[in-house]
Amino acid sequence: MARPLDLARRFPLGAVGAVIMVVFVGAAICADVVAPFSPLTTNPALSLARPDALHPFGADAMGRDILSRILHGARISLAVGIFSTMIGALFGVTIGIASGFIGGWFDLVVQRLTDILQALPVLVLALVMSAALGPSLPNTIIAISIPLIPYVSRVIRANTLALRELAFVESAEATGMTRWRIAIRHILPNTLAPLIVIATAQLGSTILTEASLSFLGLGVPEPYPSWGRMLSDSAAEYMRTAPWLVIFPGLAISLAVFGTNMLGDALRDLLDPRQRS
């Protein structure tokens, strides 16, 4: 038990981030048990109800309990965050290693493709993608993961190139290992550290992108309690008369992203000493 405590002392911000993340993931997993009400059941009597003991975050225009919706919303944010980061990382790593290792024309084509995808701000690309795919949870995940691919592949490619120069890879080549075996045995494990760093850093920004897309009406549709969606339409309409519609979902987004960012910073310091700040 000494080690985690020790780490927490070395990275106090990271520890706070880790705690937030545990709460966040816990909420997502246990939403069904923890949430006091159903996130979808409407109730005329509670329309725009103020926060009170029973509904600590109040209720929305359709009388749905906001706390319950936020707890269930953690699932959507987490699903989008994890899956889009995973998809982005999977393709990014594969392409990055292949491109760094194979080199030649393949590398050239990949490089140009990443140039192209990176010439657009993430939100712009995600916006057009999600419009093209239509509003749904899986489509939102795809729309957010695609702009991630070039970003990941670029970092991994640079890392692969650096590794290739290292003595142990060169010696492996000298012993006659095939290129694929070298890639899998030596390059891939050494890619893990930078990958974890990028993935945690990106987790937060994917959550933010999903929130922005849903806010603009192009992400996860009603009635699913996406945090971004909770802030659009009726929340913006009632922000003067029922500010709790705006405050709590926004806090949830900010806290979740804040947690991942702090954790990401600490992980970077821990795993990637060259970038230590």
Partner: protein, 530 residues
């Protein structure tokens, strides 16, 4: 019915002055209004939302119009505009208008009776230059021909008597366009004979109109111009209104909680709550099993707790009714007693649901065998919100609905393809007249009949009521049709919404119409007390 109707302009002006509280109107000033969204185009004939009527009605004149300072549209409140007078023939099949002489289009060309023919021939899709889209062609399906006698007389020849033709012509949806401009010009920089000239229309930004000094009504309009600022976020717009940036909100766009806020924050504002004559309704695809089974549709009609919809969506303000807008605002709405006898309208929701559950149980559904269905609706809050409640109510009778949010772009295309099982829709009635509501939404083959409901028997009844000249008899026929439509679960009406319009302390002379949200924006009598 053989009578010349001719209202003198002088009495019209007198009546308006009285309504304005006997204050003497002041000339000048720019009215600033909030516009809720960017209208599809400036061409009223091509659009079917009052997002176009509100900013552009001031550009045009009609032949006749619902008197702008009378809140309830009815046959009795129709007054002349470009028509100086009108007369029905003895067989009630020809309607002749004498047009006003000396009227000029905004580009200086003279207006003649031929412009009337051009306009409605284009609406009837007979001209070379066509509208891009023509949503109200069906309104004039009884018109056989339009003829012009000289520069100042035009006659509509009908297949059969249709007294309500005059009502349709009095709607904000029936402006007169000039012969000499194309449909494209009318969409982008329209020419009219109305009190205001078109100045600019910047997409998603603003619409500007300026006073027409050559307007045919002497001394009008009072305003120097109107600026419509497009604000899509309702909250931002309301903030602007409270801060005095707008003299007028978008009509009937203020929901009860926001209305309370405005009343508290802007004590000088005047607000009017009225029905929009837009109904929220359930649409069921009768070709898709199991919804081809009338019993399933009946069970769905029975489970809806209309009062819960009304309470959630409008804090109890909205009305429950049939196809026609309920009274006292609606002219043709059924009596409360008759309403209560219809499927799903009874007050005992628990009993209704028990009955519905029994129907569903007999068909083999139950808590362990839910009927799974997608509830399609447009990706707009006013559609989505009731759909969410509907899903909640369907759960009571073993139907597990999943919301299928359809992008606005494909909604009508999807309906036209019949690519849905159950949906939630909004239907606006521009004219509080059964001819408009029945033919447009329930007649076989009408383009706006989105469900494709087709009942030849009922269609005969539509024609019968349409030809009836005795209002009392017609009303009885209309109620009977409406009752059949509801019991047939053709397009169960959930509610008729009610919202508010607010005007700032300086704006005078605005009358909120109570049975149509499409007809009251000529604005030639509005003035600013600044």
């Amino acid at each position: 019915m053989k009578r010349w109707l001719s209202l003198s302009l002088a009495t019209a002006i007198l009546a308006t002055a009285a309504a304005a509280g006997a204050q003497t109107p002041k000339q000048g000033g720019i009215m600033r209004a909030w516009q809720r969204d960017s209208p599809g185009s400036a061409s009223i004939h091509e659009e079917a939302t009052y997002s176009t009527n509100f900013p552009f009605m001031g550009v045009f004149s009609n032949l006749v119009i619902y008197k702008q300072d009378v809140a309830q549209n009815s046959m009795d409140s129709i007054v002349p505009e470009l028509a100086a007078s009108w007369q029905w023939s003895a067989d009630n099949k020809d309607l002749t208008f004498k047009t006003r002489p000396g009227v000029k289009w905004h580009d200086g060309k003279p207006f003649t009776a031929n412009d009337v023919k051009c306009t409605f021939d284009k609406v009837r899709d007979l001209t070379q230059d066509k509208f891009r889209k023509n949503p109200r062609k069906a309104w004039f399906s009884t018109v056989r021909d339009i003829t012009v006698q000289g520069d100042n007389e035009v006659t509509f020849h009908l297949e059969r008597p249709q007294p309500a033709l005059l009502a349709l012509l009095a709607s904000g949806y029936a402006p007169i366009y000039p012969c000499h401009t194309s449909a494209q010009v009318q969409r982008t920089a329209p020419i009219g004979t109305g009190p205001f000239k078109f100045v600019s229309f910047k997409q998603n930004e603003s619409i500007t109109l300026a006073r027409n000094p050559d307007y045919w009504k002497p001394g009008r309009p009072y305003l120097d111009g109107i600026e419509y600022t497009i604000v899509t976020n309702r909250s931002t717009a309301v903030l602007g209104f409270i801060a005095g940036k707008f003299d007028m909100t978008f009509p009937l766009e203020i929901t009860p909680p926001i209305l309370r806020d405005i009343k508290a924050q802007a004590p000088g504002a005047q607000c009017f709550t009225a029905p929009l004559n837009v109904s929220t309704n359930l649409i069921v695809n009768r070709d898709k099993p199991p919804f081809d089974n009338a019993d399933v549709r009946r069970a769905m009609a029975l489970t809806m707790d209309r009062k819960a919809f009304v309470d959630i969506l409008s804090e109890g303000e909205a009305d429950i009714g049939g196809t026609m807008l309920p009274g006292p605002e609606g002219v043709w709405g059924m009596s409360k007693e008759m309403l209560a006898t219809m499927t799903g309208y009874g007050p005992d929701i628990a009993a209704n649901r028990a009955q519905a559950r029994k129907i569903m149980a007999d068909l083999g559904y139950g808590p362990n065998k839910m009927l799974k269905v997608k509830i399609s609706t447009r990706n707009i809050a006013t559609y989505r919100d009731p759909a969410v409640i509907l899903i909640d109510h369907l759960k009571e009778i073993f139907i597990e609905g999943e919301l299928d949010v359809v992008e606005t772009s494909v909604w009508f295309a999807k309906l036209a393809r019949k690519d849905y099982a159950v949906g939630l829709n909004l239907t606006g009635n521009a004219v509080d007249d059964p001819d408009q509501a029945f033919y447009e939404n329930y007649s076989c083959g009408s383009e706006r009949n989105v469900t494709g409901y087709c009942n030849k028997e009922l269609e005969k009844a539509f024609d019968a009521q349409s030809q009836e000249t005795d209002p009392a008899k017609r009303k009885a026929m209309v109620w009977e049709i409406d009752r059949k439509l509801q019991n047939d679960v053709a397009r169960p009406i959930i509610l008729h919404d009610r919202k508010a319009t607010c005007t700032g302390p300086a704006l005078k002379g605005y009358t909120q119409m109570v049975n149509s949200v499409y007809n009251g924006y000529r604005f030639d009598e509005l003035w600013l007390n600044r």
